[in-house]
Every structure is written in C-alpha cells, then in structure tokens.
C-alpha cells in the first residue's frame, strides 16, 4: 500500500517549487498565490495519504482544508484593500 506514497512525494516536490515564488515573488499578491498553491497541493497530498495510510478520517482533514482555503485569500484582498484606498484611485470602488 505504500507505493501510493510516490505520487504524494512528487506532488509535495511540486508544491515546494512554489516556495520559490514566495521567496522571489515581487508583489504581495504573488506570494499569496503561492500560499494558495500550498493549500491545493496539501489537499491532494492528504487525499493520496488517506489511501496510502488506510485512514479514511484524513478525508475530513482534506475537507476542512478545501473549505477554508478561500479565507486567507479573502482576508488578504479585503484587508490590503485599504492601502489601495489611500492612493485615491479614481474608479468607484463598489460596483
């Protein structure tokens, strides 16, 4: 059953490659996107581990991940929205 760990390993490596974008990413939004890549990759790894380690309760962990992935992003965009406010963009904000 452990041979399922190989795909989990490769997806983990692809997620780690996203780490470079966090370190290098010029803008804050790039960094936030890479963090979301960690989230989606994490869900995939969890699903494979659920089969590899024969623990069906891991699917609940993946379910929580999937649900809450959007929250950090929403807080980031809503929270950093304020600094956009200061630069007095002409367009109307709420559309």
């Amino acid at each position: 059953m452990n041979y399922y760990l190989w795909p989990a390993l490769f997806i983990l490596i692809s997620v780690v490659v996203g780490l470079v974008r966090i370190l290098r990413g010029p803008t804050a939004a790039d960094r936030m996107m890479a963090a979301q890549l960690f989230g989606t990759g994490g869900v995939a790894i969890l699903l494979i581990l659920a089969q590899a380690m024969q623990m069906p309760s891991l699917v609940d962990v993946a379910l929580i991940y999937a649900l809450l992935a959007a929250i950090t992003m929403v807080v980031f965009v809503r929270c950093q929205w304020r600094s956009h406010e200061n630069t007095g963009e002409m367009e109307d904000e709420s559309h």
């Binding site: 452990n2 390993l9 803008t27 581990l49 309760s57 929580i64 950093q80 600094s83 007095g88």
Partner: protein, 331 residues
C-alpha cells in the same frame, strides 16, 4: 502500519522534514513581514501533513482549521494595522557580542535536546494501556476525545477558561469597539459567502458529531465555525462589538455548561467531574456542543477585536501601494 523503513515513506518524510526546516528558517530570517507571514501560513499547512504522517489525525484537523482559517487572518489584519505608516521591521538592537553569546547558548541547548531525544528510553506503554483499558467506561470510542473530555476533563475545563481570558484581554485592549470595513463587499464575495457558509456550519456539526467515533471533536469543530465567522466578519461593512450581545454571551456558554455539569456530577456522585457511566456519552456531547460554540465565539471575537482597532485610513497619505509594488526589504 509500523514504521517500516521502506523507501517511499523515508523519502516522503525526509522531504517533508526538509520543507518544514527551510520554511521555518526563511520565515524567521526575512525582514519583510508580509513574506514572513505568508511563509508562516505555508508552514502551518505543511505542519499538518507532518501530523498526518505521525498518525495524529485529531491534531491535523485542528491544525488545518486553525492554520488555514485563523492564523493567516489574524496576522494579516495585525500587519495591515501595524504597517499603516510603513514601520519597517528593523533589525535587532543587540550588540555583536550579544548575538554571538545568544547564538552559542541556543546552539548548545539544541544539541543537548537533540542528544536527549536520540537517547530516549524505550517507550513504556502504561498510559496507552491505561487509556485503552478504560475506554469502555468513557462513553466515546475516539481515545483522544475520551482523554480530553473524560479522563482529563478538568484540564479541558480550565483550557476553555484560558480562551475566555484571551478574549477578555483582547476586548480590554480594543479602544474602538466598532469595526468599520473600508468598502462594500463585492457581489462575488457575497456569492462566496452564500455558497460556503452553510457548508462550513454543516461540516462543523459533522466534525463535532464524528468526534465520538473518529478524530474530531469540540476544538476542531469550534475552529471551523470560527473560520466561517471570520469569513462573515471580513465581508461585513460594519460590526459594532459593544452593541452585539450574542458574541460575548456565546463565549461564556461553554465554560458555564462545563461547570454546571461538573457541579452536578459532584452533587450526585460525590466526586467532581466523574460522569455516570450510562450517560457519559450524552454528557460529553452536551459539553462538546457548548464548548464548540464558545470556542468559535472566542476566536471570532479575537479576530473582530483585532480588526476593529483599525482606525480609519488617513486620506492623502502616500502610503505605497502595498499589494502590488516591489517590496523594498532592507537587508
């Protein structure tokens, strides 16, 4: 699956351990606070993979709910308020010799700890044997919930009290109790809320219920509910903390019910927090439901308390366009 040293497991854990160390190292080293926080969020996500590999699924559930939902939101809100006037994350104020001494002493501590870990005596299974022998009378099947709510119920009672203290602390520090969001939420955000919120509440109830048989329970369910609450709070345009009666009341409910049950058991059966075996399961569920509510309320209160300190933005100040400009991190 005993810890067989087959190649796939070793490489997976090796890579995961390396990722944890590199993330932690980069996160602690970076003077750019936003980058440090994003690295910390990714560190939390990778950490819950480590919990899964160590067969600690309850903790992975809690880490996922808190890491993905709460820590990022708390740090980003605090950062947004701290960096209003571009306060840079200055470097250390410690003199050069001080740094060397600190470095050597921490290194020595780590080596000593590493050596003790390496030479730990073989595992004595008394606690595990004790717990599994008493499982039938605990009223639940999941050993972690049994330990949390039954065998060490007093510890969890005090822990919910600690959460309440944190909420009181944050409220005491919040000058303006009115959280004013800066702009109307975009319709897409409202769509996200309409789609996700009922689902989050459903999953929170499911996690609470599953806690009796499989990994789950009050803390994980409370954290998931709190994450839903935070999603709601970020979309809200205005939230008056002092006017809202529900939130402060809900924070107390968990401790209150736990205390009532504890006193009731003391009255009926003579000793504190010893549930009658027949009703142990239902009593635990009642306590867990109340604890879920109060944990969720406390965590949402912490977030709203942090966010509502936000004084309104000073117009005209040329604070750089934070999201999309090249960050000039000082070296």
């Amino acid at each position: 699956m005993e810890n067989s040293l087959n190649l796939a497991a070793v490489t997976f854990d090796g890579v995961l351990a390396l990722v944890l160390l590199v993330l932690a190292w980069q996160l602690l080293r970076s003077p750019n606070l936003f980058k440090a926080i994003v690295l910390f969020i990714s560190f939390g996500l990778m950490l819950s993979l480590a919990w899964v590999r160590l067969k600690a699924v309850d903790i992975a559930l809690a880490e996922a709910a808190i890491g993905a939902g709460l820590t990022g939101a708390l740090f980003l809100t605090a950062l947004d308020r701290l960096q209003r006037n571009n306060q840079k994350a200055g470097d250390s104020l410690i003199s050069q010799p001080g740094k060397v001494i600190a470095g050597i002493s921490v290194l020595a501590l780590t080596c000593i700890l590493g050596w003790t870990v390496w030479t730990l005596p073989p595992f004595s299974n008394q606690m595990l044997a004790l717990v599994s022998s008493n499982m039938p009378i605990s009223g639940v099947e999941n050993p972690v919930t049994a330990v949390l709510l039954n065998f060490r119920g007093y510890d969890t009672l005090l822990e919910i009290g600690v959460l309440l203290l944190a909420a009181v602390g944050v409220l005491a520090v919040t000058p303006s109790a009115v959280m004013v969001a800066d702009s109307a939420p975009s319709p897409i955000l409202i769509l996200l809320l309409r789609l996700l919120l009922p689902f989050i509440i459903l999953v929170s109830g499911y996690i609470l219920w599953i806690g009796k048989y499989a990994p789950g329970g009050a803390f994980q369910a409370g954290a998931v509910l709190a994450a839903g609450g935070i999603l709601l709070a970020t979309a809200a345009v205005r939230f008056n903390l002092s006017a809202s009666k529900a939130l402060p009341l809900a924070t107390g409910i968990g401790l209150l019910i736990f205390l009532l049950v504890a006193l009731a058991t003391m009255m009926l059966r003579g000793n504190y927090l010893q549930y009658p075996v027949a009703q142990a399961g239902t009593l635990i569920l009642v306590i867990e439901a109340a604890a879920t509510l109060s944990i969720a309320a406390v965590l949402v209160l912490l977030f709203v308390g942090l966010k509502s300190d936000a004084d309104c933005p000073v117009p005209g100040e040329d604070s750089k366009n934070f999201i999309f400009e090249e960050e000039n991190t000082i070296k």
